[in-house]
């Protein structure tokens, strides 16, 4: 299935790319916040709109990282029962889990389309005075993130349920444990 493999490779690279961007973006936020604190205390005036930028950024960062989180098995889950299930049952449980994930983000995607169009066409803004931030980038990121989440749930199902190889990288369930 060369087409499927290309699709997986493409979505993996896109997910990774978005994750890197958003991680660096989160890093930049800390620098921005420090600059704001320094500006406020030393020069006497804060950078306008830092609060608004940080708020918008966090929402966008999360959806940029969503695809990678799913693909890299970083999403938190209780895998203890999965580990002791016989093979067939485990595949069924995994398939069910990925299908539910797909449906959830499909619903979020469908629900977000109309507000996104509205935000774009009416140039919707929000902000508490200091800086007026357009709404559409956040909405568009949710669309992009949910779409990639859907693709990655399909990819995860192809690999974990149907046993499609993924170029040597093992899927050790122990890696999924996070606290």
């Amino acid at each position: 299935m060369p087409f499927v493999r290309h699709l997986i490779r493409f979505s993996d690279q896109l997910s990774k790319f978005l994750m890197v961007i958003s991680a660096v973006w989160a890093m930049c936020l800390s620098i921005l916040i420090v600059a704001d604190i320094l500006g406020n205390n030393l020069v006497g005036h804060a950078i306008p709109g830092v609060r608004e930028i940080v708020i918008s950024s966090i929402v966008m960062i999360v959806y940029l990282q969503l695809g990678y989180a799913i693909r890299s098995h970083s999403m938190l889950r209780a895998d203890s029962l999965l580990l002791v299930m016989p093979g067939v049952l485990r595949r069924i449980a995994l398939a069910l889990g990925y299908a539910l994930g797909l449906v959830l983000f499909l619903m979020i995607l469908r629900g977000t389309i109309s507000p996104s169009v509205h935000a774009w066409t009416t140039s919707e803004f929000w902000g508490e005075g200091a800086l007026r931030v357009p709404v559409w980038p956040t909405r568009f990121m949710i669309l992009l993130g949910s779409a990639l989440a859907i693709v990655n749930y399909v990819v995860a199902a192809l690999i974990d349920v149907l046993g499609l190889e993924e170029g040597g990288r093992s899927l050790d369930p122990a890696d999924e444990r996070r606290g």
Binding site: M19, A26, I58, V62, A69, A78, L81, M107, I108, G179
Partner: protein, 455 residues
């Protein structure tokens, strides 16, 4: 009985999904979607509510604290400051029995002032202090127990990701919750030390007695080969030690001091802390590549938590909308249970959940329901937060799936030690945590004293 039926369907489907290994964020989202659908019977409403939560849930300045605090902890963890401080404490404790294990507890207490996650501490100390204890002939299980047990301090002593999540869920001041964790955290650390001292005195073979300390301690760092006293347990690079201490003190004073004295919001504190930690990491010789690794590691771990928070916000809205919270609350209160009984049931549920899922997921599933009940039977909400964190942390040390024990096991990579050995030697530590739960339940002042002083 309309609400009760929906409550049962919602909770049962949630539990089934979680147990089947469905991503917890997805389980929360789908259970909520089901609940909303059962109440409204309208699929369009479900989609609109999902979309609005996806957009609104994280739109608060406070959510940035999670990635920023994690970034701070990651920078400091990788800078080698932990190793320096561990060696420093170690040197300071010469001649005290079980000093390597004590240094692990104290080092953890100190490290938890700059990190919010127990897993990070467990992994770091498995690499730093386990080889040291092994070299000095400590019983290996005892050594590993002390590492797994004391890494719990990470979640108790501020800044703690669990406290942040608790604060977000219950709409309590994060600064106040941070303060509430200080005395219980020190108390637990103290009790850990008492246990280790007691064990070291009563059973010296646990801590490698009979083997000369000085003989077993060759100088580790060639840099300081000329200057240190010969009896030093471990040669320490003074320059490195002081840089690390100074850096950590600066981070602690700026971040926690700034938040508590009202100079900073928690978000500003976390941003400043991440920045200082970055500078410390660069001073300690972290390369550009390492810094990028830190940033990516935080990206991988923080995004799933934030997604969980989005879905938890949906779940809490659904519970409120369908009246499930009230239904459960009425059932609890209607049964005429006393506060002690209520607490016992909750701790039992946390303990069982702690065997299967991680602490943040446990909070998201239970706190929204438990907190109002606890408050209505007379618990102080701040003290209850500390009780919750203690009990949930205890679950991370208990078999069969205690996460911290698995982290330690994975980090040491020693085939001879079975997971059950580590579970067994961690037992005293979770007993201490449960003891702390009882103490805070009976004397809530332990938790509420400092927050009342400041806020």
């Amino acid at each position: 009985m309309f609400e009760v039926n929906i409550a049962i369907v919602l909770l049962v489907s949630l539990i089934i999904m979680v147990m089947l290994g469905v991503h917890i964020a997805v389980a929360l989202g789908m259970a909520s979607a089901l609940g909303v659908y059962l109440v409204t019977g309208n699929f369009g409403v479900v989609e609109r509510m999902l979309a609005s939560t996806a957009y609104e849930a994280l739109r608060d300045y406070v959510f940035a604290v999670i990635p920023l605090f994690m970034l701070m902890g990651e920078f400091i963890a990788r800078s080698g400051a932990v190793t320096d401080i561990y060696k420093g404490i170690n040197r300071g404790l010469r001649r005290i029995p079980g000093r390597l294990a004590l240094a692990t507890v104290l080092g953890n207490a100190l490290f938890s002032l700059v990190t919010g996650v127990s897993i990070a501490s467990a992994a770091a100390f498995s690499r730093v202090s386990y080889p040291e204890m092994k070299r000095h002939g400590y019983q290996r299980a005892f050594a590993l127990g002390s590492i797994a047990g004391s890494s719990c301090l990470g979640m108790l002593i501020p800044p703690s990701v669990l406290m942040i999540v608790w604060g977000i869920l219950t709409e309590k001041s994060i600064g106040a919750l941070f303060l509430a964790g200080v005395i219980p955290g020190l108390m637990v650390a103290g009790l850990f030390c008492v246990y280790i001292l007691g064990a070291a005195i009563l059973r010296p073979e646990l801590v490698g007695a009979g083997r000369g300390t000085a003989a077993a301690a060759p100088a580790a760092s060639p840099v300081s080969a000329g200057s240190p006293p010969v009896e030093a347990p471990e040669a320490v690079d003074q320059m490195a030690l002081w840089t690390s201490i100074l850096g950590i003190v600066l981070v602690v004073v700026t971040v926690l001091g700034g938040i508590w004295f009202g100079f900073f919001t928690p978000t500003e504190g976390a941003g400043a802390g991440a920045f200082i930690a970055l500078v410390l990491a660069i001073v300690k010789g972290l390369r550009f590549r390492d810094i990028i690794d830190c940033v990516l590691a935080v990206g991988r771990t923080s995004a799933p938590i934030l997604i969980l928070l989005v879905m938890a916000s949906l779940y809490s809205r659904t519970l409120a909308m369908t009246g499930v919270t009230n239904a459960i609350q009425d059932a609890f209160l209607g049964a005429g249970l006393g506060p002690a009984m209520v607490l016992l049931i909750m701790i039992g549920i946390w303990f069982v959940l702690g065997m299967f899922i991680d602490s943040i997921s446990i909070m998201l599933l239970t706190v929204i329901i438990f907190e109002p009940i606890a408050v209505s039977v007379g618990f102080d909400s701040i003290a209850f937060a500390v009780i919750g964190v203690l009990a949930i942390e205890a679950g991370l040390l208990t078999p069969p799936f205690g996460l911290l024990v698995y982290t330690v096991k994975a980090a040491i990579d020693d085939k001879d030690i079975s997971i059950w050995t580590i579970f067994w030697s961690s037992t005293p530590y979770w007993v201490v945590l449960l003891l702390a739960v009882v103490l805070v339940a009976f004397f809530p002042g332990i938790a509420t004293f400092l927050p009342k002083l400041m806020f």
